[in-house]
């Protein structure tokens, strides 16, 4: 390990330090002061980390080939940190109201973010797996952080058991891959597989196990069963974070492994991925249609969005535009989905429950700006311009058609119509019904309102001028192409 190695992972070091500082501050200050200081410290630290991402580090391999720094790494680092900042900013009021230990909460988010960032910089199966676990284990804790809540406990245990199961599957697949190629670094694996030519039995077993393992992490149908319960049962700010951070990280892993390392494989797994994508988006949307609880509805809809992202992965042979579509969609999805979940924080409900549709009645009048932000996120999730969600749909459909998967593009379009029905139903309840007596009390924190305001503004602005982000995504996708 040299000094250059350490410089290369500066952002990760800063985020880790932020987590430590949060824990120490929590121990030193009394509860009231800590509640005030912790979010500020966390957000400030993460902003510094974000700045350090843009600080020039020469692209290349570090830590003897275990770590690679390229445009792809930088893009995902930035996405993860932005999402962590957003998640930290919307939480304080909820944490104070529920007596959730704030120090642990912020530290967990930072630790999980470090794990996600590690996935993005991995160039070796071992780094990848370490990153994946570093990211996931804190999330298990996060899901169960409201210890006295039964649903939260159920969510945590379900998430933990299925997460452990999927990690085992993935690890088994990685072991097979090592057995076939006698290497753990992506470049060698890719070269060996390329030289090997036609895929043989063991390679396909490895590929299948890895796909299933990563499919669990990303919540691809039929490996999605844990998602609704875990998202529904976890405290709402935790749901907001875990619905986007780990999913983005799972796609970082999918791109690194399936597109990067296993890309040269002769077997045409893009057909499998395309079918999985179609099943995922359709399944998620159809079940979301039947939901009357907004939080659960958003949980299922996040499965549908996994399908759209996976469609772009399936179109990998279209070249960099496919990778760019995945990156762009992951970013867009992260901001709008985190925002949508966070809008539920306006409702003071028991336990970890999300608002039922009837409880949203009259929200447009009771909290005009909050409702406007929610409506913008929902319109964006539907994919209606001028929002970032529309641009994301556009850039996904493009490689899908380019790869000759016209049927999948039509499936995406029809699914977006299904999704429009349940997303806009929320808008109906917010604006077109009057509040009844039993609607929950509205609570608003200033940091919640401000961060939602910024995020919803960004969703519209980046929908109108998406060029810089797309350009960056395009550059970040270049390292995947060989």
């Amino acid at each position: 390990m040299t000094a250059a190695d350490l410089v290369a992972v500066y952002p990760e070091i800063i985020v880790t330090a932020v987590a430590m500082i949060a824990l120490v501050v929590d121990a030193l200050l009394d509860r009231r002061r800590a509640a005030l200081a912790l979010p500020i410290i966390t957000i400030a630290g993460l902003v510094v980390a974000l700045a350090s991402v843009f600080n020039f580090v020469p692209a290349g391999a570090y830590f003897r080939g275990f770590v690679t720094i390229d445009a792809f790494t930088s893009f995902f680092r930035a996405v993860f940190i932005v999402l962590a900042i957003f998640a930290a900013a919307v939480s304080p009021a909820y944490l104070a109201r529920r007596g959730v230990p704030a120090g642990e909460y912020y530290a967990i988010i930072c630790f999980s973010t470090v794990g996600a960032m590690t996935i993005a910089l991995s160039s070796d199966l071992i780094t990848l797996f370490v990153g994946l676990e570093t990211m996931t284990i804190p999330i298990y804790v996060l899901a169960g952080i409201q210890r006295t809540d039964r649903f939260a406990n159920e969510a945590a245990i379900k998430y933990f058991l299925l997460g452990a199961f999927s990690s085992a599957l993935l690890l088994y697949g990685l072991a097979w891959l090592y057995g076939v190629t006698k290497a753990t670094d992506f470049a060698t694996i890719a070269n060996v597989l390329a030289a090997q030519g036609i895929a043989n039995g063991p390679t396909i077993v490895a590929l299948a196990l890895i796909t299933v393992g990563l499919g669990f992490k990303a919540a691809i149908v039929p490996f999605h069963q844990w998602t609704p319960d875990a998202y529904d049962g976890a405290p709402t700010p935790a749901t907001a974070f875990m619905s986007v951070g780990p999913k983005a990280a799972a796609f970082a892993a999918i791109l690194r492994v399936l597109v990067g390392a296993l890309g040269p494989l002769g077997v045409d797994w893009s057909a499998v991925l395309a079918i999985l994508a179609a099943v995922t988006m359709t399944g998620g949307n159809i079940v979301a249609l039947a939901q009357t609880n907004t939080k659960r509805m958003l949980a299922y809809s996040s499965i549908a969005h996994t399908g759209y992202i996976l469609a772009a992965v399936a179109a990998a042979k279209a070249g960099p535009s496919a990778g760019a579509a995945v990156l762009f969609y992951v970013f867009a999805y992260g901001v709008m989905n985190l925002g949508a979940f966070a809008c539920l924080l306006y409702f003071d409900l028991e336990g970890t429950r999300g608002a039922s549709l009837d409880e949203l009645n009259g929200f447009g009048r009771r909290q005009p700006l909050g409702a406007l932000a929610f409506a913008i996120f929902l319109v964006s999730l539907t994919g209606i311009p001028p929002t970032i969600g529309f641009v994301a749909k556009f850039v996904v459909i493009q490689p899908v058609l380019d790869a000759g998967l016209a049927w999948l593009a039509v499936v995406i379009a029809l699914n977006a119509v299904l999704a429009a029905f349940y997303y806009l139903r929320v808008v109906v309840h917010m604006y077109m019904y009057e509040a009844e007596e039993k609607v929950p009390r509205i609570v608003s924190g200033r940091s919640l309102s401000v961060s939602l305001g910024i995020a919803s503004f960004a969703v519209v602005l980046l929908g109108i001028v998406p060029n810089s982000i797309y350009q960056w995504a395009l550059e970040a996708a270049q390292p995947l192409v060989r």
Binding site: V379, T382, P385, F394, L401, A409, V428, Y431, M432, Y470
Partner: protein, 508 residues
């Protein structure tokens, strides 16, 4: 000055700023909205004066927008769109003016915001020359109208507005797939792609026949639902019946035109082979729409629903005129779009005024209104006569040209113009039947006691109706100047549609 088109997009957006600051003052909000839409109308007239009669796109503005995708902000007008823009701004102004007179009682500020956003989308649709930009404006019309029907509409507004949105989105999302397909197909050897319409017209040799077949279907579905063509029309009666009066005016007057305009602007020039392949279906559906719309109108009990179904018949004339693929038919279709905008917009206005006074919309509950309301009767009567195609008023000109074009139609289907022309002409007769019968039942007969003390048109209502009346007469008596504007551009579109090898240098 050449930025007049962008100005048209910016003015309603700029109007949102004072609206935000006056969000607690309803009176001021109304004034802001009226002023903004009026200025927008004046600017659109100014735009009209800058237009020269010739075929190509004019007042073109181009701005790099998404260079990494090869997409630019490209706007311009030609003879087809040059009247649709002032029509849009006039109808929006009238809708806002009428709404501010007391028809809308709650959440005025939000209402005016929705209308200004809607105007951006509507004007944008008619000036966008890049498919990406067009799609954005096309969808931008959706959300404000969704809110206008859903918040300020009638008792079944939520069902109606969701149906409207889901139908429209189903079409437009498939069109998005079509747009991306065009984008990919436009690639040249170096891989550079474009969505600019003038460029695509030159490149359309790259679109093979089966590609055109499917992509025209994707575009056509979106436009057919918007228009609406039979069998995609079922959202229209629901949406119209539940929408507030101003919403109906704009929905019928402008939003439906986006469909017909889309066919003329994108469908015909880009996919001549696709048009040929689908021609029999399109002609049959158009004639069915004319006859079915008229028949169904005749048996409506609800006044507003009757006008809504008459729209289906009138838009049938538009599509028929477009797809007979000759100059008369096409010019007739464009005129019919304008006429329908003014006349049906006015009919919805008067149904709304009538409802505000009597609180009844069932034809059976009305009657004898002519005795108390001389002014109302005169205005309403003229618009009804225009709608049924009385010579001397505008409705006649458009329908006559469309019929003329239909008789001259010699297209792909086994049956020629001599079969379809008379069938469509029956629709004109049916229109006279249902409109006059309605007029008789609503306006004549004994005076009802409940209506005796109701006032005639107010000054505001006259101000709203008068411009439409003037245009109805002017377009009916001297249509020639308008036709002269439309003809060269339309001629180009028809030639692009009928001759796959015909290319033009767009506007350079």
């Amino acid at each position: 000055m050449t930025n007049v088109l962008s100005l048209l997009v910016v003015i309603p957006l700029a109007g949102l700023v004072p609206l935000f600051f006056f969000r607690r003052d309803e009176r001021a909000a109304k004034q802001v909205a009226i002023t903004t839409t009026f200025v927008e109308f004046l600017v659109s007239l100014w735009m009209l004066t800058q237009f020269h009669v010739q075929a190509g796109f004019q007042l073109v503005e181009r701005l790099e927008w998404l260079p990494s995708l090869g997409i630019s902000y490209l706007v311009g007008v030609d003879g087809i769109s040059v009247f649709l823009v002032p029509m849009t701004t006039l109808l929006t102004f009238i809708a806002v003016l009428y709404s501010s007179g007391g028809a809308i009682k709650t959440r005025i500020v939000e209402y005016m915001t929705a209308f200004l956003l809607l105007e951006v989308g509507m004007v944008g649709v008619f000036i966008a020359l890049d498919l990406f930009l067009f799609y954005i404006f096309f969808e931008l019309m959706l959300v404000p109208m969704y809110l206008i029907i859903g918040i300020w509409g009638g008792p079944r507004r939520i069902y109606a507005t969701l149906k409207f949105v889901i139908f429209t989105l189903a079409g437009s999302l498939l069109m998005l797939v079509g747009i991306v397909a065009v984008y990919i197909q436009s690639a040249d050897a170096t891989g550079s792609r474009t969505l600019s319409l003038p460029d695509l017209i030159e490149l359309r040799g790259r679109f093979p026949a089966d590609f055109q077949f499917w992509v025209f279907l994707a575009f056509g579905l979106a436009f057919a639902i918007k228009l609406p063509m039979i069998p995609f029309h079922t959202w229209l009666p629901d949406a119209h019946v539940e929408a507030p009066t101003a919403g109906s005016i704009v929905l019928a007057g402008v939003l439906l035109k986006a469909g017909g305009y889309g066919f003329l602007r994108f469908g015909l020039p880009l996919f001549p082979l696709g048009v040929q392949a689908w021609l029999p279906v399109l002609i049959v559906l158009s004639v069915v729409a004319i006859l079915y719309g008229a028949t169904v109108s005749a048996v409506q009990k609800d006044l507003k629903k009757l006008v809504a179904y008459s729209s289906v018949a009138h838009m049938g004339f538009v599509t028929l005129g477009i797809f007979v693929l000759n100059l008369q038919g096409g010019v007739g279709a464009v005129l019919q779009m304008l006429n329908h905008g003014f006349v049906t917009g006015a009919l919805f206005l008067f149904v709304g005024i009538q409802y505000e006074k009597t609180h009844r919309r069932m034809i059976a509950d009305l009657g004898g209104l002519a005795n108390m309301w001389p002014l109302f009767t005169t205005f309403f009567g003229v618009f009804v006569l225009a709608s049924l195609g009385l010579p001397g008023l505008n409705g006649f000109v458009g329908e006559f040209l469309v019929l003329l074009g239909t008789f001259g139609f010699s297209g792909a289907p086994p049956l020629g113009g001599l079969f379809w022309g008379p069938l469509a002409a029956i629709g004109v007769i049916l229109a006279a039947v249902y409109l006059l019968w309605m007029f008789q039942r609503v306006m004549y007969g004994p005076v009802r006691e409940a209506f005796r003390s109701l006032p005639d048109l107010s000054r505001l209502e006259i101000a709203c109706a008068l411009p439409l009346l003037l245009l109805t007469v002017i377009l009916g008596v001297v249509p020639q100047p308008f036709i002269a504007y439309i003809e060269p551009s339309l001629d180009r579109v028809i030639r692009l549609a009928t001759d796959p090898s015909f290319t033009v240098v767009a506007f350079r």
